[in-house]
Amino acid sequence: MSSYVRRLPVYLLLDCSGSMSGEPIESVRQGIKMLVNELKGDPQALETACLSVITFASVAQQTSPLTELMLFKEPKLEASGATALGGALRVLRECIEKEVRKTTENQKGDWRPLVFILTDGLHTDDEEFDMQTKDLKSLKVANIIAVGAGPYVEQATLKRITDNVLLMNTASAGDLAKFFAWVSGSIKMSSKSLDAKPGGNIELPPPPQGFTIVP
């Protein structure tokens, strides 16, 4: 039987720079595992959500291509090097262009992608970052949520990527677990609720305790 269900593409942009090594990167691994399991327990998310992971350190790359949840393989994550956040945004745009289906006369398109960026520091590729953020907001290629962890995050920088910025105190195991639980809740909510006004802002669940929304 054919299906006319749209996909909800979800991209995770994960900071794998040197500062994430040790407990943080391990927590991210656990977090992805939990996220996939959690989403697979929700029939709507299981049917609609597709997941991709893009990592950024000295270079940015797509470590898991956009895949339906049942076929998703967790990426191997290592933390070392710099923070090519600008590069990650470039990879994101390339992947969206390539992987997300557009609506045509004969084909139902995918939902606008949902993108979660997790970083614990400042980007190290200024030029690329400037170029990528120039028109990112106005193009509205995706609903992006940027989450900064720990003291080295600059709010203003993240605000250049998106208006949806959250801060968490640390990149500790506890906070990262909360982050992934919240990402899971957000994806489930997006797969159920309907954007009544085309182009309007997406609705997300309230952030976990200890997280602050940057106004």
Partner: protein, 500 residues
């Protein structure tokens, strides 16, 4: 005070009547659109608090919930503070169909206590097919698991069959009929708020706290994709108090109810077809698909949204349901007043139940089908035909008041071997609803060779076609064309035997 280690996270809630209720505080409690949930240590009750303080403190919200827990509660009897006219029997009946809030919390803050869902609405360890990498243990049985493509991962034994899906459809229609009869509407009826167990053919309506209660300001619920009535979606952009804005009400429930029934019986969504409504954006396409331009995939006049691989259609559900689905999704799709009522659905589903016939093909996934054409008895799911010797039909007629010797047809049933028959098959004005307490088998059908028999199991005063008493344990031979009163009860129905 010394606590055992595992009790470290126990908190106390104080209910409105000042009784105390313990619950367990957990990290990252499950969170819905409105509330988050903790459980009592014995897991018998869910203790729910609001995400937003303004919701918890809203006088409207509190008034609405007080009404839901008390005055309008169909799950407790009137004597115990429940709904008017509710007996303890009907209360017991409906407490199986609803997960209704039982108490309100005043401390530490305003909240709601609900019973947890019965155990059969949770998946167990072996709920998925062997080799499928899915951990379903303990997950609740949202109906999308069974009606969407996700069902391909489930073990066969979880999926039930057409008969069990029809059984739970009747229960859902009955639950909504009861709610609407009290003037309540659910307002967020969806696959997430009705749990189903196809194995046993049961369902339970959950998330009762966003009900629309008469005389109290309605809740601001967003609704769930695919179940929001088109007129609600179309007017969502207006302010909440703008008169042009259409709010959830009984008429919008009467859109969501047939969507669910259609999904249960046909395993697809009535508006999800191939039609592309707009190429501007996915959001616009989606908005038109479920809103102003919504088109039923089985609309007989407008086939623009019809999938090319529809095998089983509403026609295969028999005349009663076909008529109502057309009324709901063609005439009533954009005209809320034309939608069938929950009580019409309950009746049509019940009449369809009587037309069920088991499929002879042991590998048929549906196992049962609606035999609506006696001259062409074929299972629409697998194509297996029935021998005409195996088709037998009874018309049930009741005496017309004040017109001696005249009868009115009140039902038709298809017979099959070992079919149980109940009071409502033999006595006029008796229905298999919440008021019917005697649900024991009165008689059953026995099919041997090409002959059919009606065997008395418990029916008092059962009569043969010749008018002789048939004691319990004895049978009457059902011959084509015979018409006879089923018993000496003055309200007895007349049976007319029709061979296929």
């Amino acid at each position: 005070m010394a606590h055992k280690k595992k009790n470290n996270n126990i908190a106390k809630a104080i209910l409105m009547d000042d009784t105390e209720l313990e619950y367990v505080i957990t990290d990252n409690p499950p969170r819905g659109g409105m509330k988050y949930t903790y459980f009592t240590p014995d897991k018998k009750y869910a203790v729910q608090f609001f995400n937003k303080a303004e919701d918890a403190e809203s006088a409207q919200m509190q008034a609405r919930l007080e009404n839901i827990v008390g005055l309008y509660n169909p799950t407790i009897s009137q004597d115990e503070g429940g709904a008017m006219g509710n007996t303890s029997e009907t209360a017991a009946y409906f407490s199986r169909l609803f997960c209704w809030p039982v108490a309100l919390i005043k401390e530490p803050e305003f909240g709601v206590v609900c019973p947890t869902y019965p155990q059969n609405f949770f998946f167990g360890k072996d709920a998925v097919k062997p080799g499928v990498n899915l951990d379903m243990d303990g997950k609740d049985k949202k109906s999308k698991w069974f009606t969407s493509r996700s069902s391909r991962w489930l073990a066969e034994k979880e999926k039930g069959n057409f008969q069990t899906m029809l059984r739970l459809s009747i229960s859902l229609a009955r639950a909504i009929r009861r709610m609407h009869a009290a003037g309540l509407s659910h307002s967020d009826l969806s696959s997430n708020n009705v749990l189903i167990d196809p194995k046993t053919g049961s369902c339970v309506v959950i998330d009762i706290d966003s009900l629309v209660v008469p005389g109290v300001f309605p809740p601001e619920v967003a609704g769930t994709k695919g179940y929001i009535a088109p007129e609600v979606l179309e007017t969502m952009e207006f302010d909440f108090d703008d008169p042009k804005r259409k709010l959830p009400c009984a008429a919008t429930d009467l859109f969501a109810l047939p969507v669910l029934l259609y999904e249960y019986l046909l395993h697809r969504h009535p508006l999800d077809g191939p039609k592309v409504y707009s190429t501007v954006s996915t959001e616009e396409d989606e908005y038109l698909q479920y809103g102003p331009k919504a088109t039923f995939i089985e609309n007989p006049q407008d086939t623009s949204n019809r999938p090319d691989d529809l095998e089983v259609t509403i026609h295969d559900l028999g005349p009663y349901l076909e008529k109502l689905f057309l009324q709901a999704f063609v005439d009533g799709l954009h005209d809320p007043d034309k939608r069938p009522t929950a009580s019409q659905w309950e009746r049509a589903l019940g009449k369809t139940w009587d037309l069920l016939q088991p499929c002879k093909n042991p590998h048929c996934r549906a196992q049962w089908f609606v035999l609506y054409d006696l001259h062409n008895p074929v299972c629409p799911y697998c194509g297996q035909g029935l021998d005409s010797r195996d088709v037998m039909h009874l018309r049930l007629k009741k005496p017309m008041r004040g017109r001696k010797g005249q009868w009115q047809q009140v039902g038709e049933i298809n017979l099959y071997d070992r079919m149980p028959l109940f009071n409502w098959h033999f006595i006029a004005n008796v229905y298999p609803d919440e008021k019917m307490q005697n649900r024991s088998m009165q008689a059953y059908i026995s099919h041997q060779g090409s002959e059919w028999y009606l065997v008395n199991n418990a029916l008092a005063g059962m009569l043969s076609p010749k008018g002789n008493l048939v004691p319990v344990g004895q049978a009457v031979w059902l011959k084509d064309g015979e018409i006879f009163p089923s018993s000496n009860n003055p309200e007895a129905l007349l049976l007319e035997v029709v061979r296929g």
